[in-house]
């Protein structure tokens, strides 16, 4: 399976099943993407995850569930080494930023107040 297909599968799972990527404002979406996807990458690479604040813990909760779903649905993840997983997760992060923030057609993302 090529990298593009793998990336597509990872994106697809998030878009079909998750809600954390769709906060209403761009600034929050960026924080959510960083928070959840960074921690998901750490979990998938068996690295320790630090959750100093309740907000971090909340990102971690979504990250744990995402990492579990990925491992369960995409057995090809187990055949990748950690550097390759990191690179793939970095690409996933970029793609999610594009789909939900930078390339988004949602005109409310930049409204200043909630």
């Amino acid at each position: 399976m090529d990298d593009a297909t793998k990336l597509e599968q990872l994106v697809d799972y998030i878009m079909q099943n998750c809600l954390w990527q769709f906060n209403s404002r761009a600034k929050d979406r960026r924080k959510q993407n960083v928070g959840v996807l960074t921690k998901t990458a750490q979990i998938l690479c068996d690295e320790p995850v630090d959750n100093p604040t309740p907000l971090d813990k909340c990102y971690w909760v979504d990250a744990v569930c995402l990492a579990r779903a990925y491992r369960e649905r995409y057995p090809w993840l187990a055949t990748m080494d950690k550097t390759a997983i990191k690179t793939l997760m970095q690409k996933l992060h970029e793609r999610m930023d594009w789909l939900t923030i930078d390339g988004s057609l949602n005109e409310e993302l930049t409204v200043q107040h909630y």
Partner: protein, 522 residues
């Protein structure tokens, strides 16, 4: 952009930007309709007003409150008893509705006096109720009545009462969603933090954006209590006014309907540092994941898993009975705001149906982002449709069933498309594991109702077969099923009771020991 132009709306060219068909390879950067804009003149919208959104959807589910509309009685009439947000105090908020009955003379001379008189009269009529919400309407907003001042006067004169003022007249936004926004922010600014709640658990949440439609909130509360979680407040279904004043003390905001209540969660996150966890209470997998996430947050995931195992073992075979009979059925998912994304993926994955169209009356582009992501290629997504567009879409798509509100629902029925009430439900609750089976049963009953075969026969000209008996629902649904599936002993129809909510009210819950003496003393 894959816009879809309706024939009937060619005379309103701006409408074209409000409908898209998701094509192959389309994603959110190329396929998203406009949303949350003023309805275009000439388009007969199905939306409600901002007063209605504030009062009818969000304010009134609070159960121990006199909800009074300051305005002509017509505004109130339209919001009375049309939703099924029940409560465990004998449905006080549904049974009684209050209005100041503003008339022409009040418009000329002012309506503040009549407002004060009404407030006092209402409190006297229900002396056990000490809390009130007052809703502004168009007429009283335009004449400049100062509701806050009157409410303060009454509170000064009657120190045991507390009043919340919602300043969201009908024109305060493009749709009812403007009212959701206004009441979220008003509640936060006026009431959150004005009462200190009693903390009884190590795990404390607010359950936000949940309105107890036919008992949804009570079903979810049962799960939370079984996990030893204290639900400080529910915003707002079946909740007490005073509980909602203590929202600032929760450790986590669990957000269900982001459309109507995310503003509150976002502000609570910004002002009090309380995290926002978005969940789906609909569907076995999504609900299971939601409970697990809350469990993970508090370090009690095992308690969530125990519930999931127990409920799944009991209800999954019944869900699957319906799934076998709903395979491939084509659904128009046309609710108000959030259910287009709450349901889109879950009904396809767990009931085998196919969502061929989503629409939203008052959703924002954010809701369409979620909805379009969760449905497949070829789906038609419409923002703020007018009635003619709805009819044209039904003729074009020929769905097997439509989930929508009762106004478009009745139109669909006349076009011989079975309809389920997506707002107030048919035989809810639909949340929870059992609730999801009830939803599947309602879909099954709608699609296979024999009336749809009979209603297609025109007795004035069609020949009526006299040698055939009545075709039952089961005969219709099982006609294409293999014998193997039909005889599977593990799959059964829904076995629950007509009322699956009342018993929950008397349930006792395990007493989980708290972690530290210090926290226990709180």
């Amino acid at each position: 952009m894959p816009y879809h132009e309706f024939e009937c709306s060619k005379v309103i060219p701006e409408r074209k930007q409000h409908a898209v068909i998701k094509g192959a390879g389309e994603d959110l950067t190329s396929c998203l309709p406009k949303g949350y804009l003023n309805t275009i003149p000439g388009s007969i919208s199905e939306r409600g007003c901002a007063y209605c959104g504030a009062k009818h959807v969000i304010g009134t589910p609070m159960k121990d409150v006199i909800h009074i509309s300051h305005g002509p009685v017509g505004c109130t009439y339209d919001t009375w008893q049309t939703k099924r947000y029940i409560s465990d105090n004998n449905n006080f908020q549904l049974k009684y509705t209050f209005a100041t009955d503003v008339k022409e003379k009040h418009i000329v001379f002012g309506a503040e006096k009549v407002l004060k008189q009404n407030i006092i009269e209402a409190f006297k009529a229900f002396p056990e109720i000490k809390r009130m919400t007052i809703y502004q309407t168009c007429a009283t907003a335009l004449i400049g009545d100062d509701i806050e001042a009157i409410a303060q006067e009454v509170m000064d004169e009657m120190p045991d009462v507390d009043i919340f003022v919602c300043n969201s007249p009908g024109f305060a936004g493009p749709s009812q969603s403007g009212g959701h926004h206004k009441i979220n922010i008003a509640w936060l600014n006026q009431k959150v933090g004005t009462l200190e709640p009693k903390i009884t658990s190590d795990y404390v949440i607010n359950y936000v954006g949940e309105y107890n439609i036919q008992g949804d909130q009570e079903v979810m509360l049962d799960f939370f209590k079984r996990m030893g979680i204290q639900v400080l407040s529910t915003f707002t279904g079946n909740s007490s006014y005073d509980d909602l004043r203590g929202m600032h003390r929760a450790h986590l905001n669990v957000l269900e309907c982001a459309r109507s209540a995310e503003y509150l969660c976002d502000e609570l996150r910004a002002r009090y540092g309380i995290p926002r966890l978005d969940i789906d209470g609909f569907g076995f997998e999504a609900l299971g994941n939601s409970l697990k996430k809350i469990g993970l947050f508090f370090g009690i995931e095992d308690r969530a898993q125990a519930i999931i195992d127990e409920e799944t073992a009991k209800w999954k075979p019944q869900l699957d009975w319906y799934k076998e009979r709903l395979q491939g059925k084509r659904v128009c998912l046309w609710p108000g705001g959030s259910k287009l994304w709450h349901w889109a993926h879950a009904i396809q994955a767990e009931m085998g149906v196919k969502v061929i169209s989503v629409y939203t009356k008052f959703g924002h582009q954010g809701d369409m982002e979620k909805g379009i992501s969760r449905c497949g290629e070829g789906a038609l997504a419409i923002d703020d449709p007018n009635e003619l567009e709805g009819q044209e879409a039904l003729r074009m798509l020929k769905p097997d069933v439509i989930f929508t509100g009762k106004r478009p629902g009745e139109v669909a029925k006349k076009m011989r498309v079975p309809y389920l009430n997506a707002h107030a439900y048919h035989n809810g609750p639909y949340k929870g594991f059992e609730g999801w089976v009830r939803f599947a049963r309602d879909i099954y009953n709608a699609i296979y109702s024999p009336i749809y075969q009979l209603s297609g026969v025109d007795i004035s000209k069609d020949e009526i077969a006299t040698d055939k008996g009545f075709v039952t629902r089961r005969m219709l649904s099982d006609a294409g099923l293999s014998d193997e599936i039909k005889s599977l002993p593990t799959l059964t129809e829904y076995t629950g009771k007509y009322d699956c909510v009342t018993d929950l009210r008397g349930r006792t819950y395990p007493d989980f020991e708290r972690k530290t003496a210090a926290t226990a003393a709180e």
